[in-house]
Symmetry: C2
Subunit: 491 residues, 2 copies
């Protein structure tokens, strides 16, 4: 359906409860619905927000437009988990109900401050001429999940930015509060990350300046910046829209990149001794707006929106769209990030099936279905294709093409029932060490595949849309492979 | 809050989506909220409906008024499960949106017929003078959860019943369809169960007459009748409102009873060689409207509304009310029903703590919390009190008083933070064999306790409302006891 601006921005109290109940049931009943990933209760989900640990549970919020598969009037929906795997819904946490977030409670972060969770986010206000003013806003959430917004924006916008000024990450360093904010420069219309400082949190903010990433080009606008520490390394994760692919190659409409550095200078905002080049956080089709966080004991976790701005997906016709990735534990060594599932994901595993194929057969499981984990090791110097969610004759599947001789892995989602976003290609390829064994930890959840490659050295995430009756998991020809297949329970 | 009739019967499309989102969050965030039992997404839950196995999953629906803790305009909400323990929501399945169910899609049953699930339920219509006409209605649900209501009621009401004519259970016997329906006689205003028959299901229904239960008194109205087979025995479960407690003693405002018989005569509606007396299905405070079903392989399961008509509960102030019991597997031997948890409930168990107390200590666990299972064996000839969800000084708790000498078990919920429905007493007692060991399988879920006694010979179910910080699980004095305690995960 085509949405008018008026339809997209209708206040939540002007939609009917019956409409919402029907949308919720439609999302519940979708054959493509995720069963062990966070998905919208109804309508559209985008960025993860406020990923944090507070009051003995994990919290994550998501950007939501509950009334359809379009980027309409946004709010924060709230989920909690005891283990980063089993999430339960706590519903609408931040509604667009003040002057400052009248046109959307947009993305932001959360941080525990003095026993409460401080939410810091961007509110959008539009005037009668539809001119947008972004405000950086705050709210407290207490132990009873009660949210109280600050009365006023945290600070007055500088004149040096355009309307693209968003997604604050609240940080603490040496007893002071900081925020990094995605921005677009008013003068040259180029993207940068802005650093702000306050010693009071609710007041007293002032700008410290652009963060020097040692990069000339950050595209025309940066959003969703996150600064975290991973095994002692400073890591900036961010989305530089309009980045020149010559700077760092990417295949998706917008990239989700990371850059690491030895340290971060809060006084003269800069990544110190950074990597020469930024890198893709995910080599699949659909990861964006990743939000990362550090725990008190120094661990680092990330969760991603699986979906991209300005694109359409087949479930749009069912009035819901997008999902979250599973939570990924981050490590840094050998000059790069490693991303892996968290331990609790193993709690979803049901009876295992050992795989020990010695060039005899090609089928792993004729009825593997579309809700499972497959951990597979392929020896060096083999080529072939693993078909996931495949039709019996292999005419439809997600095809994972491996070549452990040359060192290449390609995922092709072009031969599914509803090929998606063809303008950006149907395959993604990563380079791997040649002549080496390859380990794949593959998670399938009805319309989502996450492939963790060689202990998380690479991750490839994608939505796919194949008939749920396509149950076959098989190679295209007999190969050598060992591993385990587990059906996974719902979260 | 006081509800006007107009507020209670406002159409769902005249409530706002924002109101519903707020109610859903309020229910999500309640400290008393159930974590491994079915509970309302928002508002009020009452009778289980349409309990069935269809398309490789279990289904149960519940009576819902989504807009507050009152018996307003009712609909069916839908849940499914792979194992009778892990349930997920499928939202609004039957809305009150036709002439025949304009004032509520009330209770009913479900049965697989020719590859679809047939829902049979009572629709209420009220005219301008608020005079109620109950209609017995049908609907199909297909493999994609699409529900299509029949155009017309299944039959014209007989003149022999009042407006109390409800809760059809659809049965099949010898290739014909039958329905038992709870009724009130127009002439003498007494309750009975009516039997109807059709060979076409969608049409051709005619009345066979009152079911002879061998009982003179079924109160002034019967609702929620269920006829099932349990280990070869015919069992009628039903709610005879206004039953004379001399006929069968009960302590609650309305009873949920069962009566068994050798066989059931469909031609001349009667329980053949029935028990002399009906018995309470549950000896606790809050079980009502139990719905039972048989599987194709002859097993029998039941699920109950935990809540009672015409009563108030403390979470009414939080705009939500009531929950379902866990599913109970039914058996029959030694002249009575036995009810026990289904095997999959064990999947919720986390690390176990063995209990082996030999008269030395009274505390089982100082931080047991309010989400656990406790399986406990108490030797013969002991008396004492087990305090559940107790404050450190034992001044607040649910007290389970046992006397394995005389053979008595009493549950007292009078010393909780919010004692509930005091008009009906604060304790319930069951008689047990004297001088014998006692086994208790106790399930606690924040505001619900289910106690299965001696392998399900008795069940005592209750809501309780104690501060969630009351974490102690202890005896009042050192006793002898063996068993196991498990924290349980969310479902």
């Amino acid at each position: 359906m085509e949405w008018t601006r008026e339809q997209r921005y209708r206040p939540y109290d002007q939609h009917s409860a019956l409409e919402l109940l029907k949308l919720q049931r439609q999302a519940d009943n979708s054959p493509e619905q995720l069963k062990y990933h966070i998905r919208p209760t109804s309508g559209l989900l985008n960025d993860p927000n406020g990923f944090s640990y507070f009051n003995k549970e994990w919290h994550v919020f998501y950007q939501s437009f509950p009334f359809g598969a379009t980027h309409g009037l946004k709010s924060w929906m709230h989920m909690t988990s005891p283990d980063l795997v089993h999430w339960r819904s706590h519903g609408l946490a931040l509604a667009p109900d003040t002057e400052y977030d009248s046109h959307g409670a947009y993305s932001g972060s959360a941080r525990v401050v003095n026993g409460r969770l401080c939410l810091m986010y961007t509110g959008n206000h539009r005037d009668d001429d539809w001119v947008r003013t972004p405000y950086q806003l705050g709210a407290w959430m207490d132990h009873n999940y009660q949210v109280t917004k600050f009365d006023q924006p945290l600070f007055v916008n500088p004149s040096t930015i355009t309307e693209h000024f968003r997604d604050p990450q609240l940080l603490e360093h040496d007893g002071r509060f900081y925020a990094i904010i995605g921005s677009q420069d008013a003068e040259n219309k180029r993207g940068h990350i802005d650093l702000w400082e306050s010693d009071q949190l609710e007041h007293g903010w002032h700008e410290l300046g652009h963060v020097d990433l040692g990069q000339d080009d950050l595209g025309y606008m940066v959003e969703c910046p996150n600064l975290i520490t991973v095994d002692g390394r400073q890591v900036m994760i961010f989305c530089p829209q309009g980045l020149d692919p010559q700077v760092a190659p990417y295949d998706n409409i917008y990239p989700d990149m990371y850059l690491t550095a030895e340290s971060f200078d809060y006084d003269h905002p800069a990544m110190i001794n950074p990597d020469a080049h930024m890198q893709n956080l995910d080599d699949g089709f659909d990861v964006y707006a990743t939000q990362a966080m550090n725990t008190a004991d120094g661990k680092a976790y990330a969760i991603s929106w699986v979906g991209l701005p300005d694109l359409e997906y087949p479930t749009d016709n069912q009035n819901w769209a997008n999902c979250m990735s599973q939570v990924k534990e981050l490590h840094y060594h050998d000059g790069q990030l490693y991303q892996n599932p968290v331990p609790a994901i193993r709690d979803l595993r049901q009876t295992d099936q050992a795989i020990n194929i010695d060039g005899q057969v090609e089928t792993i499981n004729p009825e593997a279905g579309q809700q499972f984990e497959l951990n597979l090791t392929l020896p060096a110097d083999q080529t072939g294709t693993l078909h996931v969610a495949a039709k019996e004759d292999l005419s439809k599947s997600v095809a994972i093409n491996f070549d452990t001789q040359a060192g290449k892995l390609t995922i092709d989602r072009g031969h599914t029932d509803q090929p998606t976003n063809l303008d950006y290609g149907t395959s993604r390829t990563v380079d791997l060490p040649a002549h080496q064994a390859l380990n794949l930890d593959i998670f399938v959840d009805h319309s989502l595949i996450e492939v963790f490659i060689n202990d998380g050295a690479k991750v490839m995430t994608l939505r796919y849309f194949n008939n749920q009756a396509n149950q076959l998991l098989a190679f295209d020809h007999p190969v050598q492979a060992t591993g385990t297949w587990w059906p996974l329970s719902d979260m």
